[in-house]
Symmetry: C2
């Protein structure tokens, strides 16, 4: 009846992308508690902070402090994000687990706005970063294709645009002898629907059958978990998600667009027989704590309703 | 690639089940505006109010006023809910479009708590109500099976429990010569997952292949739209939903459990090539207005992000 995977890997984005999208930011101690709570709940990979310009992203101004304060748990990968050489140098001076991810945009217009570069320039920069990671002894990580399902600047995205962006990135991985840990298809602006997931993931899987795929989904228009489930059915085994749906605070107004909610997705997976390695009640507790720290209701549902264990 | 239906019917539950679940209730004029706005947006069937004990459900104390104030739009069915003879008599004195729905519970424990009756008594009562509808010249409507996917009092629900409850109801419809407009499977307490939808809807469809099916889903744990999409893929063509996700206000605390959000589901359908007959922008406007009337953020996502028409 089901061709779902036995297990998946969840990458927690709450402390990084989630916190970055909360207008008022999250206090340092709440971030630390969240990261440590998530690791204790069984999340194996946590994106902790961004090394970006604190003038542009004040929510991430404490990146070094976050990285320094985490009480590390064995077996957990604590990662960070950076966009350029300068951010990478900041990240290197921390205790975080560095991996060199490479990025491209299916939408040329988005790439120009987000990374200030055309597709060829962006690819050339990624190759320079790969070189830099080799020099620095940092392994390559995953390949990210932004706007794989639609773009607010360009509109519809064709599968061939996704393929082209992915091909450019995977070539760099091949040249550097590291297979990409995952090829991420990102629904950057929340346009995806399950049929589109089927179409795009299906095409990418057909072209690169050996390449593990991952999904980075936003719940901008409510279809996030339906999309994630469509991905599961296609055998996708790696997903980004954000505890409590952090980053999608309903007070953030138009454009509020958090990642899919970690504990809601864990619930869906575990109820569907897909193991996540996460203790749901402990994760719900993290979600409730971070909601209290934000001081506004966050979009996660399960943290309000609770799981089903108590009824069985 | 897709076996989705060409079109579906949406039944709007916001003014009834949604409003009933908002702790502070909704002012009368906001209810009227909502109902009229929904009809103007293209919703063809709107559940407007409940004729229940105002002492127990003060949010519905204005049922008669709601029913009297609606400026009716041709072609729209304006319905109401009642639980017993007394409520039915109240509804009969209004201008609403009465249909005699019949209900059963897959979970015996839930039936005893919710309807204060064991399964045989509940069925006997439903038969008396069918008799009463015949006398009153009110056509039979749909058959509702509550707790079809799980029960907070009884735990897991087996497909055969759903079949038994459905069989009892459909026998009454057969005896009265009216086919049930739809056989509703209700995820009353928000336990369903897509695999469970596939399993249960699949079994019911196999047993009654000619019987149109419908889903009444709650988004209690975040899987609501994933479940609805699973239903769509199985050819279900009738769904209840609540504008703005009314009834699932995040301030309502534990147990907040609105129906799936109408406009989020309309978006998912229309983007998937399934016609709903609803004008999305007008519906979003209704959602924003009712959120303003509630004075707290409601769970609907699309009303915050907007549709995609402006990007294309």
């Amino acid at each position: 009846m089901s061709d779902l995977p036995d297990s998946i890997v969840l990458v927690e984005e709450g402390p990084r992308e989630g916190a970055q999208s909360e207008p008022a930011g999250i206090p340092l101690d709440a971030k630390i508690r969240l990261i440590e709570g998530l690791a204790a709940a069984g999340l194996g990979e946590i994106n902790c902070c961004s090394f970006v310009d604190p003038k542009r992203v004040p929510q991430m101004a404490d990146a070094e402090e976050v990285a320094a304060a985490i009480l590390r748990r064995p077996g957990v990968r604590y990662t960070g994000l950076w966009l350029n050489e300068r951010g990478f140098e900041r990240a290197r001076r921390t205790q975080l687990d560095l991996v060199g991810n490479l990025v491209a945009s299916a939408s040329e217009a988005f790439g120009r706005r987000n990374n200030n570069r055309g597709p060829e320039e962006l690819l050339a920069q990624q190759r320079r970063m790969a070189e830099r990671y080799r020099e620095a002894g940092v392994p390559l990580g995953s390949a990210y294709v932004f706007t794989a399902f639609g773009c607010a600047f360009e509109g519809e995205i064709q599968v061939r645009q996704v393929e082209r962006a992915a091909a450019g990135l995977l070539e760099i991985f091949a040249d550097y002898g590291d297979p990409a840990e995952a090829l991420y298809l990102c629904d950057t602006v929340g346009w995806a629907t399950p049929l589109q997931i089927e179409r795009t993931v299906g095409a990418i899987r057909d072209r690169w059958p050996e390449q593990p795929l991952a999904l980075h989904l936003h719940d901008t228009r409510g279809s996030g978990l339906a999309n994630a489930f469509a991905g599961l059915k296609l055998g996708v085994r790696r997903f980004d998600a954000s505890c409590a749906g952090l980053g999608g605070c309903p007070f953030a107004g138009e454009g509020a667009a958090g990642n899919i909610c970690t504990e809601d997705f864990v619930f869906l997976c575990e109820e569907s027989g897909v193991s996540t390695g996460v203790a749901l009640d402990a994760l719900i507790e993290c979600a409730r704590e971070i909601e209290a720290a934000v001081g506004q209701p966050l979009p996660g549902k399960l943290m309000k309703a609770g799981g089903l264990a108590r009824f069985r």
